[in-house]
């Protein structure tokens, strides 16, 4: 259990650093593009690369949200259900999530054969398999994130914790902490 928790913490940190890097890169791309356009020299690759950057940020960020169990849901009904039903629904919903991303990972990999002959329009030196690699990789990572965060989610489910209520309490705790920090 300690090993799983350590792996979860490491993966969470790696995803955090990588996604923050992607956000900074995306910001720089937009600012560089605005500067070039202002001086009448638009970058032809701007739209395509920035859009791909957004997709990468979205899918790897979705992994980060998965490991923190922060995806939008409706936990109220399950957390108020009687014990055995709660366990059954929890397991069923986990199976659906993992099954969905297994399908995405499989077909995301299969599609590489088709994309192997295609390159980006604005930067022909970049193959589409590289840009599209985010789909199977992030789908596989999503499954890993889901599994690594499973023990904590299981414990919370067993004790009937409503994840939405917990997120609200956490947001308030952080805000109050920031407030104290700003006042001191």
């Amino acid at each position: 259990m300690v090993l799983i928790e350590r792996m979860r913490a490491i993966l969470e940190k790696l995803l955090e650093v990588f996604t923050v890097f992607l956000l900074l890169a995306l910001t720089c791309i937009v600012l560089v593009a605005v500067t070039f356009r202002t001086f009448g020299n638009s970058l032809i690759w701007y739209d395509e690369i920035a859009s791909i950057g957004l997709a990468w940020l979205s899918f790897y960020g979705a992994n980060l949200a998965a490991i923190k169990r922060a995806h939008m849901g409706f936990p109220g009904l399950v957390s108020n259900a009687p014990g055995p039903l709660r366990i059954g629904l929890f397991v069923f919903s986990e199976v659906i999530v993992i099954g969905f991303f297994a399908i995405i990972a499989y077909y995301g990999y299969q599609v590489f054969e088709i994309l192997a002959w295609d390159n980006l329009v604005s930067l022909p030196s970049i193959n589409l398999t590289f840009t599209q690699s985010v789909i199977p990789i992030s789908a596989a990572l999503f499954i890993l994130c889901e599994l690594l965060s499973l023990p904590i989610a299981w414990q919370k489910m067993r004790s009937g914790v409503d994840s939405e209520h917990e997120a609200i309490e956490e947001a308030i705790r952080i805000a109050e902490e920031d407030l104290k920090g700003a006042q001191s």
């Binding site: 956000l23 957004l54 979705a62 949200a65 995806h71 009904l77 999530v97 077909y107 599209q132």
Partner: protein, 426 residues
């Protein structure tokens, strides 16, 4: 019939706590598999990827980043002080400060919950200390935060604009008059409430204090001027405006005020990344559902069936309003926008409603829906800070929901209100 099955399947999955984005994707994949055949499943990853490469949506993470910079570098604090010195002298002024601040800051980090937690943690305890009713304190924070979805830069509008393929800048402009009307309505209610319950003034009006607050906030005020001036003036797009907002916030917070707290900034940015990704995964998986719905021509069929009942725009808009208000009670705003927009758009166009006008109707409806339990995370956060019961607070909140509802009716049936500035400038 297929649409009913899709809706039932979706709700069943959401109710058993499958993340909404995954629930949408699962229904989409099953729909593609059953109706189009297994060979079409190869389109799913491509559609998923294309769904997330929606260029205008780049504005979302950038505005969130700018919001994080503003909150962690003293910019927000100065703007709050300025609002306090401007309206704090009025009876019930603290409630009005709450309206102004909540409207300005709500959704700035991409998470309405985090923003209400941030502003509410400052203002609600202060309101309670000044003998404001705790339920009223929670209700006014929550209602004014919800109104912020139509005040630029609004993440909900960026989302709608990208999905409906309409100008985000024009949506921002369309939100100005309804936003001011809503804010004015809420402020009027605060005044009425303050007089009725003899609530205190903050302090007597002081020109010197206002001058000091204004001077202190001069650089902070430049930020909305640069961003909104650039966007509305047509110099930059919404996405570029968001990029410039990041740069301006970095320069003002980091170099002018020198109060940038990197630890807080890192946490705010990672939270922002999560908020962006949660919404973007919804956008991506809804593209998969859209693949199936479009193949089945379900939105067109729905439009045809409703217009067979009535093609009177007033009646159709009333129907849509009821549907959206109900949906807003059970779904988060972003999820509802992503799901509803592609389905009702053909109907909206068929009855001759301007998509910009409809964007305002949609976002306002969902804002009101966020005030009504069971799914009312903004209200729940405000209640949690004020330590009040959500149902009791909802009762106190009813007049404020009424104000939002009047704005909704005005926006729906007097199109010139949202469209006046749009027609004037574009």
């Amino acid at each position: 019939m297929i649409l009913v099955i899709v809706i039932v399947a979706l709700f069943a999955l959401v109710l058993i706590n499958v993340p909404i984005a995954v629930a949408i994707g699962v229904v989409g994949v099953v729909g593609v598999y059953i109706n189009m055949g297994p060979e079409h499943l190869l389109n799913v990853p491509l559609t998923l990827f294309n769904g997330a490469t929606n260029f205008p949506l780049i504005a979302i993470p950038l505005f969130i980043f700018a919001g994080a910079l503003m909150n962690t570098s003293g910019i927000s604090k100065r703007l709050i002080n300025l609002v306090t010195s401007m309206v704090g002298f009025v009876r019930g002024g603290l409630a009005m400060v709450n309206v102004g601040v909540s409207m300005f800051f709500a959704e700035i980090s991409g998470s309405a919950v985090a923003d209400v937690a941030a502003t509410g943690s400052i203002l609600i305890p202060e309101m309670k200390r000044k003998k404001y009713n705790p339920e009223f304190s929670a209700a006014i924070t929550s209602s004014s935060a919800s109104l912020a979805v139509i005040i630029p830069p609004s993440l909900s509008m960026i989302l709608y604009g990208a999905i409906a393929e309409v100008s985000i800048v024009q949506l921002f402009v369309a939100g100005i008059i309804p936003g001011i009307l809503g804010g004015f309505g809420l402020a009027c209610f605060c005044y009425y409430y303050a007089v009725k319950y003899d609530l205190p003034r903050e302090a007597a009006f002081s020109l010197s204090r206002l001058g000091k607050a204004f001077k202190d906030a001069t650089w902070a005020l430049l930020l909305p001027v640069i961003i909104l001036g650039g966007i509305f003036g047509g110099f930059v797009t919404a996405t570029e405006g968001a990029g410039i907002a990041v740069l301006a916030a970095l320069v003002i917070g980091g170099l002018v005020y020198r109060e940038l707290n990197f630890k807080m900034l890192y946490r705010a940015v990672t939270d922002g990344v999560i908020q962006t990704s949660v919404v973007m995964l919804l956008v991506a998986t809804s593209a998969v559902l859209g693949l199936f719905l479009t193949e089945m021509q379900l939105p067109q069929q729905l439009a045809q069936q409703i217009t067979m009942l009535t093609d009177n725009p007033i009646a159709v808009l009333a129907l849509i309003n009821i549907l959206l208000l109900l949906l807003g009670m059970f779904l988060h705003g972003a999820a509802a926008i992503i799901l509803v927009t592609p389905i009702v758009m053909p109907l909206v166009i068929q009855i001759g409603v301007d998509p910009i006008h409809f964007g305002l109707i949609l976002t306002l409806n969902l804002a009101i829906g966020q005030q009504t339990p069971p799914v009312a995370s903004v209200l729940a956060t405000a209640c949690s800070i004020a330590r009040t019961d959500m149902w009791k607070t909802t009762r106190v909140n009813l007049p404020m929901i009424g104000v939002l509802f009047i704005v909704l009716l005005l926006v729906t049936y007097v199109p010139i209100i949202p469209l006046y500035l749009v027609n004037l400038f574009y």
